[in-house]
Each structure stands twice: as C-alpha cells, then as structure tokens.
C-alpha cells in the first residue's frame, strides 16, 4: 500500500507514464552500462534522488518500500561472497571461504542490481498501476496479459477488504484464540475466499456483458498534459544518465 500511496500522491503523478517509463528504462540501461561499482552506485544515487527530490517521495517511505528488495540483494550478495567447502574427505570437515579475488566482480554485480532496483522503484513509486498498464498497452503487450493485470489489481483491493472483514468477524467470535482454532479459522477463511473469487468473477462477467463487452477490456487511454515536453525531458535526462555510465571508469 506504501507504493500505492506514493504513486498517487507524488509530484509527478500527472506526468505521462511514457516519460517516467523511458527514464526508468534509461536508468536500467545505465545500470548495465556502468563499468565499475562506483559508477553503478552513482547511478543508483541519482535515480534515488530523482524519486525523492524530484517526485517528492518521502525518504522513509522510499526506504520502507525498498527494504524487502534490499534484503534479497544483501542475501544474494552474501551467498556470492561466502562459499561452503565440504572438503575431499570427512577429516577436513566443512569450511567457509570468502571469495577474495572475485570481490570486485561481486561488488560490481551487486551495485548494478542496486541501480536496477532504484530504476524500477522510480517507476513504481511515481506511477499508479493503471498508468503503467496503459503504457504497456502502448508497447503492444498482449491484451490477455493486460486484462489479467487490470482485473488482478482491482480484485486485490476488493478481496483484501473481504479478508479483513472475515478476519475481524472471526476474531470477534474467538476464531484465533488458540493455534488449533486459528488453523481451522484460516482454512474456513481460505475456503470462503475461494467461493467469493468464483462468485465475483461471475458477477464481473455479467457486468462486462451488460456494458457490451465481448472481448478485450477496452479503456480510454489516460490523457496527460504536456506529454511531449515531459517525454523530451525524460529522454534527455535518460541519455545523460547512460552517457555518464558509459564515460565514467
């Protein structure tokens, strides 16, 4: 929900998603083009600054959204950094090895990943999903995939409300008083949710038919003011980012 909150309340909410998508893509290209860890870190910093200082995403919110992904990154870095050696026989046992000579490459990969992450975070924290879907539609992604994204995104909120209400109703009747009861309640909740998903899909189908739908879900593409200007600015900034990544050692 934090991503959602940022996407709808940031300063660049009304900037065309094409511009933000383009800048994010350039960020990712720059991340891959970065020749050293230092350059990749600089790209990551610049992308973070664009989100925080440009779009006005609060720094703490940015960190909280980035935290799970950073945790994955740290775990991956550690698994690259440390290797287990089981030895050739039982006598030598298991030993830990630090990847000494590979350190620079590992740091480079991690910093690149971090830059890629910040590029994606920039898009996710500044652009609501319906806008991203309309951007993907422009990119000619298959309709079925986009329809699924649209429905899943909408249904996510509807079902989370149902889950919340059911949990409250169960808790009010001591549904989570002990481990055994909690397991049973959880099972009932999942069963109830499955039925609801089926019923709601039927209802959505009826609603679509009632509004003359017989194929892909068609929506009006959102209209953004000064789209050309925003795209030009994003392209220039993106190209500068790539140029920086390429030219710096």
């Amino acid at each position: 929900m934090l991503t959602e909150l940022s996407a709808y309340t940031n300063r660049w909410r009304r900037v065309t998603p094409t511009a933000k998508g383009l800048f994010s893509l350039c960020g990712m290209i720059a991340a891959f083009a970065a020749g050293s860890s230092r350059t990749a870190l600089l790209i990551a910093l610049m992308l973070t600054a664009a989100a925080i200082m440009g779009a006005g995403v609060p720094p703490m919110r940015y960190l909280r959204v980035a935290a799970p992904a950073l945790l994955f990154l740290v775990t991956s870095a550690l698994s690259l950094l440390v290797s287990l050696d089981f030895g050739h026989n039982y006598a030598t046992g298991v030993s830990l090895h630090l990847a000494g000579p590979e350190m620079t490459r590992i740091a480079h990969v991690c910093c690149r990943s971090l830059a890629c992450l910040t590029a994606l975070l920039f898009l996710a924290l500044t652009t609501p999903l319906p806008d991203i879907i309309s951007l993907l539609r422009l990119c000619k992604l298959p309709d079925t995939l986009l329809d699924l994204m649209t429905l899943c995104y909408r249904t996510l909120f509807v079902l989370s409300e149902v889950v919340h209400e059911t949990l409250t109703a169960q808790s009010a009747r001591l549904g989570y008083a002990s481990v055994a009861i909690s397991l049973r309640s959880l099972g009932v909740l999942i069963a109830n949710l499955s039925v609801q998903v089926w019923q709601r899909s039927q209802a959505l189908h009826l609603a679509a038919v009632a509004r003359n739908n017989d194929g892909a879900l068609l929506f009006l593409p959102p209209d953004f003011p000064h789209a050309t200007r925003s795209i030009s600015r994003a392209a220039i900034s993106g190209i500068l980012l790539i140029a920086l990544a390429v030219t710096l050692p």
Binding site: E4, Y8, P128, L129, P130, T150, L151, Y153, R154, F157, V158, E161, R200, A203, L204, L206, A207, A208, V209, A210, R211, N212, N213, D214, L217, L218, F219, L220, P221, P222, D223
Partner: protein, 285 residues
C-alpha cells in the same frame, strides 16, 4: 398514455438448477417514466432486470423493445445493451478498473466510439453524477456511495434510453441517498426512463410514477404507487405500507385532511408542509 418502451409478455424464467425466478410475468414500462420494482428478497427483481438488458433470455414468453420482440443476435444485443444500461447492486462487482475515468470509459469504448467522443462522454457522465472532482482518485479509495455513482456514470456514458438500477440505495447513508435521488431526478428530467429495484417503500411512494410488485417471480400488482402500495395484498407481501401514506390515512380518521387539491403528500417534506399549513389554518384567529 405514453408508449411502452419495454414490455414483458408472459415471461417465465427458470435457472439451470431448476429454480423458477419469473413466472408468467407481463408488464410494461412507459417511455420517460420512473418505475419502482418492489418485492421481498428472491422475488425475481434482479432476474427481471437481467432480462431487460438481454443478459437472460426467457424460458418462455417475450421481452419487447418498443413493441418489437427482442432479437438475441449479437448485433441486436449490442444495440439493446447500449439502450438499456444496467447498474448492479454491488459496485465492487461492476467496477473493472482501479481508475475512475478508465472504468467510466469501458462501456463507450465497447461501443466502438472514437477516443474524442468517449472522452467527452466520460466527462459528461462524471459531471452528471457529481464525480468530476474524484475522477483521478483510485476506485479503492472511494466511499461506497461514490463507487455507486461511478457505476451509474459508467452506464450513463453509454447514453442509454433506459437506466435500470438494482437496489441503488442499499448501503447508503441518508445524505448519499438524497444525493442519489437528486441524480435520478436529473436523469428523469433529461427524459431518461428509470427503473429502480428497491426495498424502500417511502422512496418508491414518493419518487415513482409506477410501481411493480413481484411475489415469488409472479406479478402481484402494477400501477400508481399511491394506489397499489396501499392495497392489502401488497401490504401483506411487503410487510408494511409507506409511512407517509399511513400517517395521512391515520390523520384523516381523526378528521385532519391533508389533501391539497385532491393530492395527498407523498414524501416526508410534503407531509410536514401539509401539516404545517393545516396547523396554521387551525390556529388562525
């Protein structure tokens, strides 16, 4: 009398599980009228509505549009569904997109209209339901009443001749109910035919020109609300009569006649005005 825009002749419908939802139902809806459909839960109101939009096809009998039996071919159904807009009871079952504007555009886009026209229609529809200011908000951040209004806008953007609303007042607070009534009044004033399913007897009594009472899929009564809602069999079926009508009739028993030129008050505000006038007349020196 105004010509019938929609009519049902001996329509029966049985669901695949064998449940009989409509049983030999015959009724007409006049063009430009305000019709309230009343009945207990399971009386067949929603099934009736699904027939009006061509989603369900009668097991027997006929549904007619301006006297012509419905053709259930693909292109004719498209025409019918652009003429008869259906607003479902639960907004979360109707709203597809998380964006208000996108969702309202869904119907007109399905009609194959140009982007420019769709954009104009979306803005008009949002304005008609007073949701222009919330058009950029995500649907999941709207209140229940606002979601209902977005649903109505989604149907209005298709510019239908008939709007059918399934229990639009359910779950709304008093203020939202009043706002929705204003929206319905505005649509009626613009010449739209409106059909509403409701459990609110007072709303039906005060708002509708015609009332249709369903009982276990059968038509129990059809006519002017001021008459049929006071019939004993209708009272028994619905469990009550409109409060305003009850008060007026009780007052008439003690000699207080609230009729103004033969017209009895139909809403709370009309009742209060009539009572005020009566009291002023009685206390005149």
């Amino acid at each position: 009398m105004t010509a019938a825009i929609l009519s049902l002749t001996n329509v029966s419908y049985r669901y695949p599980d064998g449940t009989s939802a409509l049983d030999n139902c015959s009724l007409t809806v006049a063009r430009g009228s305000r019709t309230a459909v009343l009945g207990t839960n399971g009386a067949g109101k929603t099934t009736l509505f699904l027939h009006l939009n061509g989603i369900l096809r009668p097991s027997s009998g006929q549904v007619r549009w301006e006297g012509t039996p419905l053709d259930y071919g693909r292109s004719e159904l498209r025409k019918l569904r652009s003429r008869v807009g259906l607003v479902f009871q639960n907004p979360d079952s109707q709203l597809f997109s998380a964006s208000v504007r996108e969702d309202v555009s869904f119907g007109p886009m399905n009609l194959g209209l140009s982007e420019k026209i769709v954009r104009e229609r979306v803005e008009e529809a949002l304005h008609a339901v007073g949701m222009t200011d919330s058009a950029d908000k995500p649907v999941h951040n709207l209140s229940y009443g606002q979601k209902k209004r977005v649903c109505i806008a989604g149907v209005l953007a298709m510019q239908p001749e008939v709007v059918v609303l399934d229990e639009p007042m359910a779950g709304l607070d008093i203020t939202m109910q009043e706002e929705l009534t204003t929206v319905l009044e505005r649509l009626h004033a613009a010449g739209m035919t409106i059909i509403v399913a409701t459990h609110d007897l007072d709303f039906a009594y005060g708002w509708a020109d015609e009332a249709i009472i369903l009982q276990s899929g059968r038509l129990l009564a059809h006519g002017v609300p001021a008459k049929i809602l006071l019939q004993q069999d209708v009272r028994n079926e619905l469990g009550a009569a409109p409060l305003v009508a009850e008060i007026s009739s009780q007052l008439s028993l003690i000699g207080i006649d609230l009729r103004d030129k033969g017209y009895l008050p139909r809403s709370k505000s009309e009742l209060l005005t009539a009572l005020g006038a009566h009291i002023r007349q009685e206390t005149k020196p």
